[in-house]
Amino acid sequence: MSPLLAAETLGKFYGARVGCRDVSFDLWPGEVLAIVGESGSGKTTLLRCLSGHIPASSGKVRYRTRDGRMVALDEMSEAERRMLMRTDWGFVHQDARDGLRMGVSAGANVGERMMAVGERHYGRIRAAAVDWLRRVEISEDRIDDSPWSYSGGMRQRLQIARNLVTSPRLVFMDEPTGGLDVSVQARLLDLIRGLVRRLDLAAVVVTHDLAVARLLSSRMMVMQQGQVIEQGLTDQILEDPQAPYTQLLVSSVLQV
């Protein structure tokens, strides 16, 4: 078996400033990797490089396409890369407004990717939208409502449905529960965990919250000042952190 996604000495520099540097890892099909760090640690920059939103300054990101080839993102045509992003990949933004089309109904938000890959049967799009809203616990009678009328938690669930409708194999998530109430966070994390397992999704989850990493991921990387300072199995790192910075994070957060 070969990895689904591979980062090879990935770096992003803004002049002399380091966004992230020398990041290497393999992500396996169905695996959830958490990238943990405080703001400014480079985790979001890394996510944007991995997901092809910004070009890396050095190194490579390779992805195993559905036909089994390992292809470097920067060697794909723009058309291939954009197709990948709206079919085989998903991206869940921290602020749902960045990931949703706020000007159209919830149903249209879910159906858009199907239409983007050529579905031209309204009834089938509608049925898929109904099905996906149900799977993210949104009542069918809200299908024609604007996302503006949705609560923060519902918007986030809608964003997830919109991404999953094309059965992607890999989903990137940027602080998916950030900014939500604690009780809403817990429900959303349960939902994400259930979906990821049932659909055998691979995911890269960026979070500052070790509790999110613990609940969702099997493996994690800890970042500080643009570099990965520790990586391994999530349970192991949380149980027995090696780097002093990780020890500090774990002791300050998980004691509560």
Binding site: R82, V104, S105, A108, M115, V117, R120, Y122, G123, I143
Partner: protein
């Protein structure tokens, strides 16, 4: 003084050459929005300066010009543009569709079938059909380049979800030559089938947005739709109250001060011909 105040058809030759290059590019790539350096014209943008510049660039002294607005030759907009070309180009004008070699129009395509000897020039307010869902110009350009037209169906989906049918009745998007999705300007969707496989050259000018696009003669123009909600044109229960045709686009008009209403042809020339009044 016999020195004309303007060059033929107002624009100088260099400007006309520039616009013709854009027109040729637009014809070569049907449905593609070719940029051009739109000029100030002695009329407001809302009056169709894009169409006027295109007409000025294709017009020859031998041409016969027809100008229509909402199907009629006698509205203020149509009269002003016709006068403008009479004054600056001295061309013959006509109200009869079959006599015209160049027809400038806003909001309609004539009911009388066009021929290979004719050019139809549309005035376009907003040329970009993707603008509704994507405000960024760089992004819409990429979407056209990569044929990413899924969002057009998002709009149609919304129509059906809200109204039970595709409620878009004007500026109904279509695909030209199975390639570019384009906005046929605010004509009723009733006119969309006339765009398809039309013997005449169809040119579209957007002055404010500085774009020209074209549907060359005998080019396929397919209106977007869903398999289970196919494209349909407007239909009326009654024929034209004046000429009795059931083949034309009807406007509802108020007849008298008691509010009596009736449906009549929006194409006034077509209606007059049916009544034998010309």
């Amino acid at each position: 003084m016999n020195v004309p105040a303007y060059n033929f058809a107002y624009l100088n030759e260099q400007t006309k050459r520039m616009i013709r290059r854009a027109i040729l590019k637009a014809i070569a790539v049907p449905g593609y929005q070719a940029p051009f350096a739109s000029r100030e014209m002695p009329m407001p943008y809302g009056w169709g300066t894009g169409g006027v510049q295109v007409t000025a660039s294709v017009l020859t002294p031998e041409d016969t010009l027809k100008v229509i607005d909402q199907g009629a030759d006698d509205t203020t907009n149509a009269v002003s543009i016709r006068k403008f070309f009479v004054r600056t180009a001295g061309v013959a004008t006509t109200g009869k569709t079959e006599e015209a070699s160049v027809i400038q129009t806003r909001h309609r395509i004539p009911e009388t079938p066009l021929t290979e000897d004719q050019i139809l020039v549309f005035q376009v307010p907003i040329p970009e059909p993707l603008r509704f869902l994507e405000p960024r110009e760089t992004e819409t350009r990429t979407m056209h380049a990569l044929e990413e037209y899924g969002v057009m169906h998002v709009k149609l989906y919304e129509d059906i979800a809200q109204y039970g049918e595709i409620a878009t009745t004007y500026a109904y998007p279509a695909r030209v030559a199975e390639r570019y999705v384009f906005d046929p300007s605010p004509i009723p969707k009733f006119d969309n089938p006339k765009l398809d496989d039309c013997p005449a050259l169809q040119l579209f000018g957007a002055g404010r947005e500085k774009r020209i696009y074209a549907v060359p003669p005998y080019t396929s123009v397919r209106s977007l739709d869903f398999e289970d909600h196919p494209f349909e044109v407007q239909r009326w229960d009654q024929p034209c109250a004046l000429c009795g045709t059931r083949e034309s686009f009807l406007d509802e008009i108020v007849m008298d001060d008691r509010g009596t209403r009736m449906f009549v042809c929006s194409d006034t020339d077509f209606c007059a011909r049916n009544r034998g009044e010309r």
